[in-house]
Amino acid sequence: VARRYLFRRNRRGGVEVSLEPAEADVIAQIGRELSALLSPGAELGGAGDPVLERLFPRAYLDPTEEEAEADWQRLVHDDLVDGRRAALETVERTLAEARLHRGRLEMTLTADQAEAWLAVLNDARLALGTRLEVTEDLDLAGLDPGDPDTAPYAVYWWLGLLQEHLVETLAGS
């Protein structure tokens, strides 16, 4: 019997992924929400929306550097948005091409595609964690599983588990 895995290295420097279909659905759904957030029209500098402010922070804290900040934003903001959208498209595409094997969805990612997955998992946690206003003291064990409000926290916790696995896989530890 093959040992279950979420992510594991292959010999070509890529990563094998194995998810339950329901897990893949959650990732796909989160990817769609992030894509909508990053659709054209997402505000420069992300002023106003705490999630966009978190994904696209200022470079300069010093208020006397407002001009440099604006120049820097003009220079990099579109590239930062494009990079995130490209990663989302990679995740979407690899999920769509996944093969069903014994009840699990399996994918083979190149090293670059695995980096895209890592970026999307992190962005998803940044977005969800910011919305939920999580703190370092967040105690998931103290949440009532019967409370429907806890569902997003469960997703947040699970994304962290997934990301931790992927980091360990990529770091080769």
Partner: protein, 97 residues
Amino acid sequence: MTPTTAPDKVDQPDIDEVVDPARPWVVIVWNDPINLMSYVVYVFQKLFGYSRQKATKLMLDVHHKGKAVVSSGNREQAEVDVSRLHAHGLWATMQRD
């Protein structure tokens, strides 16, 4: 071999630097409750080529002290590093040292 012009410049005094010393800029990563410790170490190693030990020490500084200087250089270099860190979801800013 193509000669480089760089060594010649070393002996020439840089007037601009004397009048207005190009103060180095530092790139700071701030603590946040979302980014995973393992991920932050991974990003420091990937972006800056730091050893696992150095990347871990920087991550722990961020975690325990609230922030850490992760790189320094001129303004342009710092801006590049900040944007790379932002692309990886880390909360980074830059300021004069």
